[in-house]
């Protein structure tokens, strides 16, 4: 039986190489839309490789941190990231992540999946409706945004111009970020899926800035729950290694793409991925 290539055992080496290649794709997609690589990594590991879901979620956390640091290095240098908004909103995401890590046993997971499946379905719908909106705010009466001077500007290579924007809706933004941190710690996925709509929709940051800033933040959110996952033995080195290497390579490539594509395209790709995640979550919450 061993004489046939298609029938031979998949060795750890085959596993590492194939998973690293999948992770490159996850890194490109994750860095482009600010969601991290977990969206691709978790289903691939559980469905394709039959890996235990607990270990898949541990690998997802590693992939999120790898996407974040890999892409943010470029986005920050190119001034695509709004550092002040990112660091300000991290108050809420880290607090949410820390509380979420210890709420796991209190809340029924199925209910959470169903609930956030619906939330994401709704936010993909509103993002789709906003797909033509590109005009940034010129004035803001948001007291918090003005006090912390969260407004900014970025250079858009696709449009070849500097785009200044004002930030609003910081209170709603903080609330949504707290929920994003909570969900990230409870379910292991979905952190960026709530962050991007919070910034693009509620706070009126331009789509590319939302994506780059979400990318910047998800690493810190994930780091806040990574210690718990590590201590629980969910970070398996032979899964984490190819994921980290592949995603780092992919995120470095993805970060070069964001500037050049149109905002509308980024939003549409984001909506498609959001619909897939919400269907995945609804399936986990509703089906037996």
């Amino acid at each position: 039986m061993y004489g046939y290539v298609y029938n031979r055992t998949v060795t750890p080496f085959d596993f590492v190489i194939s998973l690293a290649l999948v992770s490159v794709a996850a890194g490109v997609l994750g860095s482009l839309i600010g969601l991290g690589g977990g969206v691709v990594i978790v289903p691939v590991l559980t469905l394709l490789y039959g890996v235990d879901i607990r270990l898949a979620i541990g690998a997802s956390i590693v992939s999120v941190i790898a996407t974040s640091s890999g892409a943010a290095a470029a986005y920050v240098r190119e001034r695509m990231t709004n550092l002040r908004v990112g660091m300000f909103l991290e108050i809420a995401t880290t607090t949410g992540a820390l509380s979420g890590a210890y709420l796991t046993t209190l809340l029924p997971t199925r209910f959470l999946f169903a609930f956030f499946g619906l939330v994401l379905a709704y936010s993909s719908f509103t993002t789709f409706k906003r797909r033509h909106v590109a005009q940034p705010l010129a004035v803001s009466s948001d007291g918090i945004a003005n006090y912390f001077d969260l407004h900014g500007s970025y250079y858009d290579p696709a449009e070849d111009q500097e785009i200044a924007y004002k930030v609003t809706g910081t209170k709603l933004g903080l609330f949504l970020m707290y929920v994003a941190g909570l969900v990230s710690a409870l379910l292991g996925i979905g952190s960026g899926a709530l962050k991007v709509p919070a910034m693009d929709g509620a706070m009126h940051l331009p789509m590319k800035v939302s994506s780059a800033t979400s990318n910047f933040m998800i690493g810190v959110t994930a780091a806040a729950s990574a210690a718990v996952y590590f201590a629980r033995g969910q970070i398996d080195p032979i899964i984490a290694a190819p994921v980290a290497i592949g995603v780092l390579a992919g995120a470095t490539v993805g970060a070069r793409v964001l500037g050049r594509v149109a905002s509308k395209t980024v939003r549409l790709v984001f909506v498609v991925v959001l619909v897939i995640i919400s269907l995945e979550m609804l399936q986990k919450g509703l089906l037996p």
Partner: protein
């Protein structure tokens, strides 16, 4: 710091001052700096951006190299993991019952034995700590920009992150 060609904003600094004084997010909205002070602040902000970008880049490269070294070590020690027709399935290493270091003590023991998987875990730890280091540098950067509100906010984030590591009992 002299400006780096091609990396500076293509818009002259004065323009963002003219459009209301807080175009690039450098604390001017609250403080009403003179144009000269604003230009100096823009330079500081740019310097901070480059430092934070470099911290992330170094963390990523270092962790990537350690993880690669760990993988190499693991395959060097376990020839059966990569032999073309060996009977070892990857599932031995990815099942719920697989043993690998998940505390600092176990990691130390594993590293002392020269185990490749311990080296990989060390690389993953560096990766996890990179955003934490980035936040710590953020606190220092906002102090450098003399922006106390943002420095306090970032300091809170750093405290929560450090608390998360202690609460997890790593």
């Amino acid at each position: 710091m002299t400006s780096i060609p091609g990396q500076e904003s293509p818009v002259p600094v004065g323009l963002s001052v003219a459009d209301g004084g807080n175009g690039t997010g450098s604390g001017r909205g609250r403080r009403n700096l003179s144009p000269a002070e604003a230009a100096l602040m823009d330079e500081k902000v740019r310097k901070v951006e480059l430092v934070i970008s470099m911290v992330l880049r170094v963390g990523v490269v270092v962790s990537g190299l350690i993880i690669l070294a760990g993988l190499g070590l693991m395959f060097a020690h376990h020839a059966a993991y990569m032999a073309l027709r060996s009977g070892v399935s990857y599932k031995v290493l990815t099942s719920g019952a697989t043993q690998f270091p998940h505390s600092l003590t176990a990691l130390g023991n594993s590293l002392a034995l020269g185990d490749g998987r311990g080296v990989v875990v060390l690389g993953v730890m560096v990766l996890i700590l990179t955003p934490v280091l980035r936040v710590a540098v953020g606190v220092l950067s906002f102090l450098y920009e003399r922006d106390i509100p943002m420095a306090s906010v970032t300091f809170y984030v750093l405290v929560v992150l450090i608390a998360s590591f202690f609460l997890a009992g790593v």
